[in-house]
């Protein structure tokens, strides 16, 4: 227990110190984590931590990340990507494998080892690339989309690779392995796959296929059918942690299912994410999973940094660096060629080339698997491990190269398509009750994109039936606001009905997102002052307008001419507004208005004054209700003409 606490503390300290520094220096969070990992690696050694097993645990961050990526990607978009997925992604894996294999053959490896190395190194790092693309806001660019297609294809390609690798086993290695069986596979990722193969092993091939298809079906159907009732069931409690637990349950459950049937858990959760991309619980799921993903990925990057065997690196420094550079060059060349072939142009092609040239975390998994399956000798695998880690370590540097050198050059050309950001310029409506609902309808009818957040399942399902896009969640939570896109939103409409929460939300938004316009609902006059103090300038008292209209109807029903009733109402609203402004300076949030003497005094004075004005003075034709045409006085005109 003590060890776990100390160990967690060490990781957290390293991350908390290194990442802000790296970000400030413009290096990006990934490099920060990697450096933090390198710095703490002696400490981890002293604690006797198994960095590799920790890394496999942290890889779950990748699974979560793909779930989140899936949430952002509707099935329709995935279908539009299919050509790139198969063509661009498939060719990248095949060509990279071929090039690396050829190089390995040239270096004197037998073809089985060369092929295995090719497969291992053809994959790129989903964790680093996606994290960096998201951080830089490049996900929706052409290069980002291309990178994502390739990563997804690689993820799919891992499955046949895992099936293929054991077939490459070398007899003399199997023998060597059986002697040293105790040392290999303990806690390594290969062990996991071994287990899953055991489960599937008891079935015939056609049964296996059936089970696999069935598992995918469970994810797709379960995701679309079961999530809603599940969340509705949980929503009753209104406990935030229960939502987090539910979200984690879904992700971990799917990952477990996929592992059992021998599919990639990342792929499974990605699929579940896509299925849920249209769900009203999307933003809730996103904000629940996101912190876990972030922490696990951070841990993962640190283990990559910590996992570098500096002893081995020192011994083979020249050759490892040469191999790493050669790998980056070879994969980069393949990517550049494919970018040309698939018409990814300009800066985007360079983004693909530089961003995806490294080897990835799947290489770690595959390497331990190849060693366990007696395909690659341990000594070679250790060196490849270094190449993989080093290539990952260099990736942030390549991204910096892209940022500083490539992007500015192409930006000057001005032929770049603007990035498409889904929620950009949209309006977030917090609360879709009787107040927010009307606002939503008005904004949508006039062509604005709205993102509706509400805490009532029933309300949301009603909205869904009418074809609106609405999401479940508590809008006062900063993380949910963030996933709803507050940073890119044009406006926030605060239409929830809890006074304190409204003020809190307005305050949070004016402080953190001063560029977002806010229209807020106020419960009464004092609340108006509160919201004004919180920085909001469009404040609407929620029942004032309807009360005024009801008053006008009452006057009309009592026999007042409709136009007179209208004029009276206008005048009343004007007076109220005057009083609102006049009393603002006397309002004291710490004293209830009724006990605030100067406030009460001034209010009384205003009321009396307004009553006098409304009743009109002697010459009622000129009271302020009736400003308008008065015929000229003949006597005055004649007097003027005479003078």
């Amino acid at each position: 227990m003590q060890d776990i606490l100390i160990l967690s503390f060490v990781f957290l300290v390293a991350g908390v110190i290194a990442v802000p520094i790296a970000t400030r220096l413009g290096l990006g969070s990934v490099l920060g984590y990697l450096i933090a990992g390198i710095v703490i690696s002696p400490l981890l050694g002293a604690f006797g931590v198994n960095v590799v097993s920790l890394q496999h645990f942290a890889e779950f961050g990748v699974v979560m990340m793909l779930f989140l990526v899936g949430l952002e990607l509707e099935p329709k978009m995935l279908w539009q990507m299919r050509h790139r997925l198969v063509g661009l992604g498939g060719l990248q894996v095949a060509l990279s494998t071929g090039v690396v294999m050829a190089a390995a053959l040239a270096l004197g490896q037998p073809w089985t080892v060369a092929l295995a190395i090719g497969l291992v190194l053809s994959l790129s790092s989903t964790a680093i690339v996606l994290q960096t693309l998201q951080e830089k806001g490049l996900m929706k660019s052409d290069g980002g989309q291309g990178s994502f297609s390739v990563l997804l294809a690689q993820d799919i390609a891992v499955i046949p690779m895992l099936a293929l690798v054991p077939l490459l086993a070398m007899p003399e290695l199997i023998e060597a392995l059986s002697h040293a069986a105790d040392h290999v596979g303990d806690g390594h990722g290969g062990g996991d796959h071994g287990e899953s193969f055991d489960f599937m092993g008891q079935f015939a091939a056609w049964q296996q296929a059936l089970i696999t298809v069935g598992a995918v079906g469970v994810v797709v159907v379960g995701g679309s059918v079961l999530t809603r009732p599940l969340f509705r069931f949980v929503a009753v409690t209104r406990l935030r942690e229960l939502f987090t637990a539910t979200a984690l349950m879904i992700v971990i459950g799917i990952a477990a299912l996929m592992t059992i049937v021998g599919l990639s858990p990342a792929l499974g959760t990605f699929l579940a994410g896509v299925v849920l991309a249209n769900s009203e619980y999307r933003h809730e799921l996103e904000s629940d999973i996101d912190p876990f993903k972030g922490l696990l990925l951070g841990l993962f990057f640190m283990t990559v940094g910590a996992g570098i065997n500096f002893g081995l690196l020192g011994e083979n420094l020249g050759s490892i660096i040469a191999l790493t550079l050669a790998l980056l060059l070879a994969k980069g060349a393949v990517l550049y060629f494919l970018g040309w072939m698939f018409k990814i142009n300009g800066a985007d092609r360079w983004l693909l080339t530089l961003g995806m040239a490294q080897a990835g975390e799947f290489a770690f998994v595959l390497l331990s698997f190849t060693v366990a399956s007696a395909v690659i000798p341990k000594a070679i695998a250790d060196q490849i491990l270094l190449v993989v880690a080093l290539s990952m370590l260099l990736t942030p540097a390549l991204f910096i190269l892209f940022d500083r050198v490539v992007a500015p050059r192409f930006a000057a050309g001005g032929d770049q398509d603007p990035d498409e950001i889904e929620h950009k310029g949209s309006v977030i409506i917090a609360g879709h009750g009787r107040f927010g609902g009307v606002i939503n309808r008005m904004l949508r009818n006039s062509g604005h994109t709205t993102v509706v957040l509400d805490f009532s399942s029933a309300q949301l399902e009603m909205l869904r039936t009418f074809g609106f896009r609405a999401y479940f969640g508590d809008a006062t939570r900063p993380d949910l606001l963030h996933t709803a896109g507050i940073q890119d939103a044009a406006m926030l409409v605060v239409a929830i009905d809890d006074r304190e929460q409204i003020t809190e939300l307005v305050h949070y938004c004016t402080t953190n997102y001063p560029h977002v316009k806010i229209v807020a609902r106020a419960m009464n006059r004092d609340h108006v002052y509160e919201l004004y103090a919180a920085g909001c300038r469009e404040i609407i008292r929620d029942t004032f307008d309807s009360s005024v209209r009801a008053g006008r109807s009452a006057l009309q029903a009592l026999g007042m001419h409709p136009y007179d009733a209208e004029l009276f109402t206008r005048s009343f609203v004007n007076d109220d507004r005057t009083a609102l402004v006049a009393l603002a300076g006397l309002y004291d949030p710490d004293i209830p208005s009724a006990e605030n003497e100067p406030y009460v005094e001034k209010a009384k004075e205003l009321m009396a004054e307004q009553e006098r004005a409304l009743k009109g003075e002697k010459n009622s034709f000129h009271s302020r209700l009736d400003r308008g045409w008065t015929p000229p006085n003949i006597g005055e005109i004649e007097a003027e003409n005479a003078s």
Binding site: H561, P562, Y563, E566, W629, P631, P632, I634
Partner: protein, 203 residues
């Protein structure tokens, strides 16, 4: 029988001595349509479709209003802007009002002699009404001689106003019954007043 529509417009109805009484009289005549524009549109948001249909359904359109700044109260201008659309009232296909009659019933604060070149209003009342007259012409409507009360603010309740209101009632009734000789009235004088013998009496 002609279908008569009366549009009444007075933003300060409760201070009116002449127009309110005229409006009450008009309302009480059977088989004519009476519309208080400021009551129907207190927010001055006019439903052009409904108004156009109302115009289609009538043959004689009477505007009753006090003269403000040598023109109509603002709601009638707004009504004109929105209801008399191209393609409805004028222009290509705009023949919906063709053949109908427009008549004005106006109260003016100035005395009759003010509306002369020597008077302080400098122009004749008909000159001030030419925009409306031309409006009627563009819409292929007949612009009937306006029914006028001069010096309306100084008019005696029991005598002048009462007979003006009664003349108004008789005009509307005669318009409804097709017994008003518009040609003779037009030939007689530029404006029609309650003393005219061309307004039929009660039968």
């Amino acid at each position: 029988m002609a279908r008569v529509l009366v549009y009444y417009a007075h933003p300060g109805a409760r201070y009116s001595r002449v127009n309110t009484r005229m409006a009450k009289a008009a309302e009480q005549i059977d088989d004519i349509t009476f519309v208080d524009l400021y009551a129907r549109y207190p927010r001055q948001v006019i439903d052009a479709d409904a108004e156009q249909q109302l115009l289609r359904d009538h043959d004689v359109i009477v505007f009753q209003f006090p003269l403000f700044w040598y023109s109509t109260p603002s709601i009638i201008k707004e009504w004109q802007d929105l209801v008399l659309e191209q393609g409805f009232a004028y222009g290509k296909g705009g023949t919906e009002l063709a053949g109908k009659t427009m008549m004005l019933a106006i109260s003016a604060a100035g005395p009759e002699d003010a509306y002369t070149e020597a008077g302080y209003q400098h122009f004749s009342l008909r000159t001030f009404l030419t925009p409306l007259e031309q409006t009627a012409r563009l819409c292929k409507m007949r612009f009937a001689t306006p029914y006028v009360l001069y010096a309306a603010l100084k008019a005696e309740e029991d005598t002048q106003i009462a007979s003006h209101v009664d003349g108004y009632r008789r005009i509307l009734t005669a318009l409804r019954d097709d017994t008003l000789d518009l040609d003779a009235i037009e030939a007689a004088a530029p404006v029609l007043t309650c003393s005219s013998s061309l307004i039929p009496g009660d039968t």
